[in-house]
């Protein structure tokens, strides 16, 4: 392994009004290594990267690339110097096709003519794809592809710039296990070419598998850089949170009661979900596993009435319900936390109070008009119960961290007094501490006799908090396992059944 230092960031500091976001942080990335950058949300990882890419202007410190000091104006400037980033939330022109996105801002031109050469664009794209072993038609429209493939395109774009430093920000948060494997193969091949990879993730097992070195940050400060081979998950967690977490999952205390929900032969009109039947019990945490595109999300969407149902019946407490749309489902005691928080969860410009109370407004009416006191009491209850960190109820939700946004949306649903909660990736993009609180909450709800259905891509999570796990494959229910007596291998086998 070469030890040549590619990128060195020294004594980086950055302040925002009232907050010191970065305080004398350093980061050294060597060629041919994968360097993990870890820390809880708000630890300053994103801010550090934004300083690198010139999105933020650093207050103090220096950045050296190949020994030369650099100070990029913006991410395009960085890209042209061989420093690329694959974003957590992809910024792509979704209505355009793959190759348009790849070559945006530097379209290959025809010889001597001021026109874009589609042919060259296609060929160049194919070249990069072949190189990275990506199987995507360059002419596919971005919005028609799953997130995982869109991410591949983003990586291919970084590679096409001949980038020496590639930053991956939470790359696997929306990928299935198989896709993660593919991603890791690509990352490894990039490393073997001598690239320096900065890898930001919350997933410990991934970090330990893929990275060569780990730099840990906490509260805007540099904590340590360690060799990945000589460190354990618990040690990393300890460095990140400054305390020891013995149990990643809270102890299970819920007891399973009588039958609450029965779904019979559910099929979707516009997705491949077909003929799914299962039951759920009071006080149960029911997991739904499966690969991306296996119909996990579609299952919840069909139960909740977001997606159009073709056939099938739903019974709550033995009574049939239609759940034609979310309004009706809410009346029937359902609640659903959607997967894409930003697109379908939060009202970005609205404050915490509006975001918390929107689904239960009728509760706060006083003679037909909304009562401010009731509204703020309900909101405050949510903030206290879930330990939401926010300056006030009047803060716009978009200025909170992902974990706190998630807590506000959970509050929204708890305020509707649901008996059945459908949670689609409830811990995505949330730091370890907040995740633990969400797990506690799920178990608390189960203890109250509610049925909690959890869809997750993280198998340890499902194994840690669920009682039973439904495994989806190719839009069908491939099997049902007992969380206590199953293994990841068993679930993976079922998940691949109808692929």
């Amino acid at each position: 392994m070469s030890n040549e230092v590619l990128l060195r960031m020294e004594h980086i500091s950055k302040s925002f009004p009232g907050v010191k976001a970065l305080d004398d942080v350093e980061l050294t990335v060597k060629a041919g290594t994968v360097h993990a950058l870890m820390g809880e949300n708000g630890a300053g990882k994103s801010t550090l990267m934004k300083c690198l890419f010139g999105i933020y202007h650093k207050d103090e410190g220096q950045i050296f690339l190949n020994g030369q000091e650099v100070d990029f104006k913006d991410s395009k400037d960085a890209l042209e110097h061989g420093v690329a980033m694959v974003h957590q939330e992809l910024n792509q022109a979704l209505k355009r096709n793959v190759m348009d996105n790849m070559w945006l801002g530097r379209f290959p031109m025809m010889d001597k003519l001021p026109f874009v050469s589609e042919k060259q664009m296609y060929e160049k794209t194919m070249e990069v794809f072949k190189d990275l072993n990506i199987d995507v038609n360059p002419k596919t429209i971005m919005s028609e592809m799953p997130v995982s493939q869109r991410q591949m395109v983003e990586i291919a774009k970084a590679v096409s710039y001949n980038s020496k430093i590639i930053v991956f920000d939470e790359p696997t948060s929306s990928l299935t296990e198989v896709e993660v494997e593919h991603l890791f193969r690509i990352i490894n091949s990039l490393r073997d070419r001598g690239c320096g990879i900065i890898y930001i993730s919350h997933k410990m097992d991934e970090i330990l598998r893929i990275s060569d070195e780990v730099t840990i940050m906490r509260d805007g400060k540099y904590i340590a850089t360690k060799d990945s081979k000589n460190i354990t998950m618990n040690e990393i967690i300890k460095l990140m949170v400054g305390r020891e977490i013995t149990n990643v999952y809270p102890p299970k205390t819920n007891t399973i009661g009588e039958k609450l929900l029965e779904v019979k032969n559910l099929s979707a009109e516009y997705s491949k979900l077909s003929d799914v039947s299962f039951v759920g019990y009071k006080g149960e945490v029911l997991g739904v596993a499966g690969l991306d595109g296996s119909g996990r999300t579609e299952l919840l969407e069909n139960i909740f009435g977001i997606a159009t149902r073709k056939s099938g019946e739903i019974y709550v407490d033995g009574k049939q319900v239609t759940n034609k749309n979310p309004r009706e489902s809410i009346k029937n005691g359902f609640a659903m936390l959607t997967e894409e928080r930003r697109a379908t969860g939060i009202f970005g410009v609205r404050d915490i109070q509006a975001n918390s109370t929107i689904s239960s407004l009728k509760k706060y009416l006083n003679h037909g008009f909304l009562d401010n006191k009731k509204l703020s009491e309900a909101t405050q209850w949510g903030i206290d119960t879930l330990k939401t960190k926010t300056p006030s109820q009047k803060t716009p939700i978009r200025s909170l961290s992902g974990g706190n946004q998630q807590k506000v949306i959970v509050t929204r649903w708890l305020l509707t007094d649901p008996t059945i909660l459908l949670l689609d990736e409830p811990t995505r993009g949330i730091d370890v501490g907040a995740k633990y609180e969400i797990y506690e909450l799920i178990l608390k709800l189960a203890n109250e006799g509610k049925l909690v259905i959890v869809v997750s891509s993280e198998m340890p999570e499902l194994l840690g908090i669920c009682d039973r796990i439904l495994v989806m494959s190719g839009g069908r229910l491939a099997g049902e396992v007992d969380a206590k007596n199953t293994t990841q291998e068993e679930i993976m086998t079922l998940a691949a059944k109808y692929v």
């Binding site: 909740f304 979310p326 309004r327 489902s329 659903m336 970005g348 109370t357």
Partner: protein, 338 residues
């Protein structure tokens, strides 16, 4: 470091209250040049002008909160002004068979229905066909224009301006609410205040109001959260249509006549007022107080530049600049907080 921080704070304070500051500066400047600008007569005039434009701006603001717009507003005002003027009149031009003017409540009901139905139609097309409100109202605006032209040619009117409205009706709208010295405050100022109150309650104290903001902020999330998105959109447009109808009902008496050009370009002023007042096209944000400030600012500009004897052509330029500056300041809120 400390000082720099303060400077930024002051700048923020200035920018966040820019509209108030602009109004204040303008008023001070005009008042120095023309002291009568702050005379009672002048203040009442500006308040009256503001009051006459408020109901419409309040209606259109709802559409903008939905991240939409409504460019049919002016034409709806015009149509309802014409209907009002043709029914509450002593010269029966449009309807030669009339023998007496209609009772005022009946006419009010008629225009509310007409405005509400057109609004509902707008809202229905926006919600049901998922069309952008600009497209929908661009179309209905044309349709209504045609209807106005046809309506004005009915009977023996031949497209003439409608006037000769009944004294009772004129008194109801422009009659004195009270007098300050010799200056009369017209009743429609009071009506405008009522509508401000009504809209404030609707926006802040009803589930419909909260749902409106939610839909404007994130339509999909609103649907998932159990908001009846289509119903909300239709209600917002219906309410807006009714507010335009009321504007028309008031305007016919205020101006003293109505013709096919009544309401021309009203929507552009109303939209400008909303935008100046911070009802952003981003959707999901806005306050009633902002709408009032926006309308007031435009009227202060109109009256102020008049007092200053500024060339009419400059008024366009000043208005344009104000709108641009207001929007730029407004957008700042959404850009800086990263």
């Amino acid at each position: 470091m400390e000082k720099k921080f303060d400077k930024k704070k002051i700048l923020d304070l200035l920018l966040n209250n820019a509209m108030y500051i602009i109004i204040a500066l303008l008023v001070v400047y005009v008042a120095i040049k023309r002291p009568k600008f702050l005379g009672i007569a002048s203040i009442i005039n500006i308040i009256s002008l503001t009051a006459s434009k408020l109901p419409m701006a309040l209606g259109i603001a709802g559409c903008i909160v939905l991240a939409g717009t409504d460019i049919s507003a002016g034409k709806i005002v015009g149509l309802n002004a014409c209907i009002t003027a043709s029914l509450l009149t002593t010269v029966y031009k449009i309807w030669p068979n009339m023998t007496a003017p209609f009772p005022i409540p009946v006419v009010l009901l008629i225009v509310l229905c007409v405005g509400g139905l057109i609004g509902l139609f707008n809202g229905f097309c926006v919600a049901q066909f998922d069309l952008h409100p600009y497209i929908v109202t661009l179309s209905t605006q044309l349709i209504i224009y045609g209807i106005i032209l046809i309506y004005m040619m009915l009977g023996t009117n031949n497209g003439m301006a409608l006037s000769g409205m009944t004294e009772e009706y004129k008194q109801l709208i422009t009659g004195p609410l009270f007098n300050i010295g010799t200056v009369r405050v017209p009743r429609y100022v009071f009506y405008a205040l009522c509508f401000v109150g009504l809209m404030w309650v609707i926006w802040n104290k009803t589930t419909f109001g909260k749902n409106m903001f939610a839909v404007g902020s994130n339509k999909v999330a609103a649907e998932v959260s159990g908001v009846n998105v289509k119903k909300t959109i239709m209600m917002v447009f219906t309410l807006a249509g009714m507010m335009y109808a009321i504007t028309g009902f008031i305007d016919a008496a205020r101006v003293g006549s109505a013709n096919a050009t009544t309401g021309l370009n009203y929507e552009s002023d109303a939209i400008s007022a909303c935008v100046i007042g911070g009802v952003s096209f981003v959707g999901g944000t806005g306050k009633i107080s902002g709408v009032i400030i926006g309308v007031l600012l435009l009227q202060v500009i109109f009256a102020g530049l008049n007092f200053l004897s500024v060339n009419a052509n400059l008024i366009y330029i000043v208005k344009g600049l104000i709108i641009l500056i207001a929007c730029a300041i407004d957008m700042r809120k959404y850009l800086t907080k990263k």
